[in-house]
Symmetry: C2
Subunit: 452 residues, 2 copies
């Protein structure tokens, strides 16, 4: 009764899979926020190293992973693929449920899959310091981990409300030697301006992005790093799906359904893109590929497919994506990593093209699924990942109704060791199932930038 | 440059190794606390199932692991064996450093290795509910995990100071469906008595043990479970060393030095006993085997080898062990799992017989080692495990001085995701390096029970 399907370290993929090579039509280009014209590599050079800019724009199918990056990925990769037999038995489903377990990375999620190569390419380009923002802290602690291993400096602007409420993620960054600053901070013009107007602001991801970009743009030794949304970030995450496909092949399986939760879209891209490529190219045209989001922040299910900014202040390039409007502020749900107004342009295009589907859940049903998972499979997942658990359980229950023996694969993107206050709130009945915030979305969508 | 040495699930050991079979002379028997006579199985039957009592007293070398237990161990075992190459490079040592990584279990430490079989044997004996105590929460959350998988009830008496300071371990138990009660509690006579006299007491492990034992003894559906010290607990942990020996053999290595931290002694027993057996039986007579403890609670290095109680109140059998006296209260250091006045009788005998050595460290140097480890190997360890990291680093630095290419193996018993307040205290310079508390120890040793 095999539970885990393991791969040797030599099976860590030697190249990332770039789905841009297989898109039926090219991605709409990002636009310069000032000129409205397509971004050229030179526009990004002040904050990104050239190799990452090349990857961002590349349509080459296979992009080699440097040996120095693979050597660090060995610390936790290949991650195990689990057959969730106890969950299957509990659900009395004929479906076979598999999940890829990314919580085995030292910081506890999929984020280091891109933090390591981003730090590496910056190091190779002579950059000594990285600046970034973080919301709940998963990304900030992962970049801190990566820069520690490459002996670089790292400054993380952490949204003040999270900085105060989740002190342990800040401590983790400190152990890795990174500097973690509550945002808004007096260190940047963007932060100072907000502080002058709203001294007691809890901060926001949009403000923190502005601070990190300003920091990176203003220092020659410093670049900026982003943990989701961008093409090169999705690219780096494809190790998840590439490994999973190989692990499933070892037991003669191929998934009928592939599921991931979606905030900015990077862990979803990681599990889904290799299978989406198989679908687009006709190798496996029937695969169902499903992104899952919170009903309180329904980017994919209720947003518009339109050009919008990546941040609140409108400093980033305009990207064509599903968006709720760049100044949409979602209700305070406990899956902080899914509270983003937009979604990766690549994921958005696959949804627009009908390759990928989307669904949404309320947070109480999501936590209920997470508790079922913990009591059957033993693993306590992050609230974000719990959205994928919930969708997988629903897919398996549908199989119980239909009798279909589907193979369901989902990405279990991270552990919940920093999220117990959320579980407590769930048990105490304090979690609110926000209705679809139609008024808020209508308002913010009215502020979409005019393009072309 | 292989980093992890992995085993397939089929290589999970099929039997535990019982070092009692290889001891040159038998263990001194536990004595009944009332009569002072050797304990017989019937004395333990009110709180333990017969199979665990048999294992406690067995001198059979190899004790089969039931398939139902191995099937659950598959959720995380075999655990990976790491070669700490980045740490070696950082230390510029000719030594080869390996560590067994037990933090991959769902609750995050080695404790489930015994929680699972303990829950299993109780379930098989028709027991529906387990009661236990927990200090920092590692053991309580592991037993909660185990009882969830066997669909049993579980009540954990958690030392009140930890209950208040470490709420997330309590939440973890809640997710697994266990009941967690701050101790002392009004639910037991022992707890009520303490509360009447000291309503504001922070509690202690000794009181919590008394409550759990009273709970189990008073209900026919309930047994008691202990997470360390006892022979059967050490037995269950030997999967660690058995796997490690096989993993090292896969790369043609055998350790010259084996290191583990010691509180009650169970994780140390787990890594060390298979190698201690090889040493006693003359297969590898030269292996250095080292237990590491905090200078503030120097059981092995400053205690007496004598009969003493396992708990403060004197309710448990008398065991011959190294002890600082059952009413010794160690200073409040941040490795809560190592603050125990005694040590497993089996570990104590091996020290007494010269098979195992012991050393002690102050907490600041231990945290310094943990930070070095995090910044080279990426893993942030629990403060307890950090004692083993520190000893391994010192052994490797000694090799740099001597030029010896020793093979150093240590057990990395758990992750530090619930210990960031301790890391913060370290960085803030708030950790006190308590000197050897000679006065306290002299006082408590004067209370040792008279025997024979």
């Amino acid at each position: 009764m095999q539970t885990k399907i393991l791969l040797d370290e030599d099976a860590i993929p030697k190249a990332w899979y770039n789905i841009q090579a297989d898109l039926p039509s090219p991605l709409d280009p990002p636009l310069h926020p000032g000129t409205g014209k397509p971004v050229v590599p030179g526009d990004l050079a002040p904050i990104f190293p050239m190799e990452l800019i090349r990857q961002e724009m590349s349509t080459q199918r296979s992009i080699p992973i440097p040996d120095e990056v693979r050597d660090i990925l060995r610390l936790w990769r290949p991650s195990p693929l689990y057959r969730a037999r106890r969950l299957e038995q509990h659900l009395k489903t004929p479906a076979r449920i598999y999940f890829k377990w990314e919580g085995v990375s030292p910081p506890g999620s999929h984020k280091p899959n891109t933090a390591i190569p981003q730090a590496y390419y910056n190091m190779k380009a002579g950059v000594e310091r990285l600046a970034t923002e973080t919301g709940a802290g998963q990304w900030g602690s992962s970049l801190a981990f990566a820069t520690a291993l490459f002996d670089m400096e790292c400054t993380v602007y952490m949204v003040r409300s999270s900085y105060d409420q989740k002190p342990y993620r800040k401590s983790m960054m400190q152990v890795y030697g990174a500097e973690c600053i509550p945002s808004p901070s007096p260190r940047t013009a963007a932060g100072s301006k907000v502080l002058a107007e709203h001294p007691d602001t809890p901060g926001s991801l949009g403000i923190a992005i502005s601070e990190a970009v300003e920091d990176a743009a203003g220092r020659s030794d410093t670049n900026y790093a982003l943990g989701s949304v961008l093409n090169h970030v999705c690219l780096h995450q494809t190790v998840i799906g590439l490994e999973a496909r190989e692990q499933l092949a070892m037991v003669d399986e191929y998934p009928d359904t592939v599921i991931g939760c979606v905030g900015g879209g990077s862990n979803f891209a990681g599990i889904a893109f290799p299978f989406a490529g198989d679908k687009i190219t006709g190798k496996h045209p029937e695969t169902e590929i499903l992104g899952v989001e919170p009903t309180a922040c329904p980017t994919m299910t209720k947003g518009l497919y339109a050009y919008d900014y990546g941040d609140v202040a409108g400093l980033t390039p305009l990207m064509r994506m599903f968006t709720l409007g760049h100044d949409f502020v979602p209700p305070a749900i406990h899956a902080g990593g899914l509270r983003y107004h937009g979604v990766s342009p690549l994921v958005a295009k696959l949804i627009h093209d009908g390759v990928v589907g989307a669904s949404s859940y309320h947070q109480n049903e999501v936590f209920e699924a997470a508790v079922t998972f913990a009591r059957t499979e033993g693993i306590i997942v992050a609230p974000e990942s719990a959205h994928a658990v919930k969708a997988a359980i629903d897919a398996a229950l549908e199989c119980r109704r239909t009798g279909e023996e589907r193979v369901i694969l989902f990405n279990n993107s991270g552990h919940g060791n920093f999220d117990f206050s959320s579980y407590e709130a769930y048990f105490a009945g304090r979690l609110i199932d926000y209705e679809y915030p139609a008024d808020l979305i209508r308002e913010s969508l009215s502020h979409l930038p005019k393009v072309g």
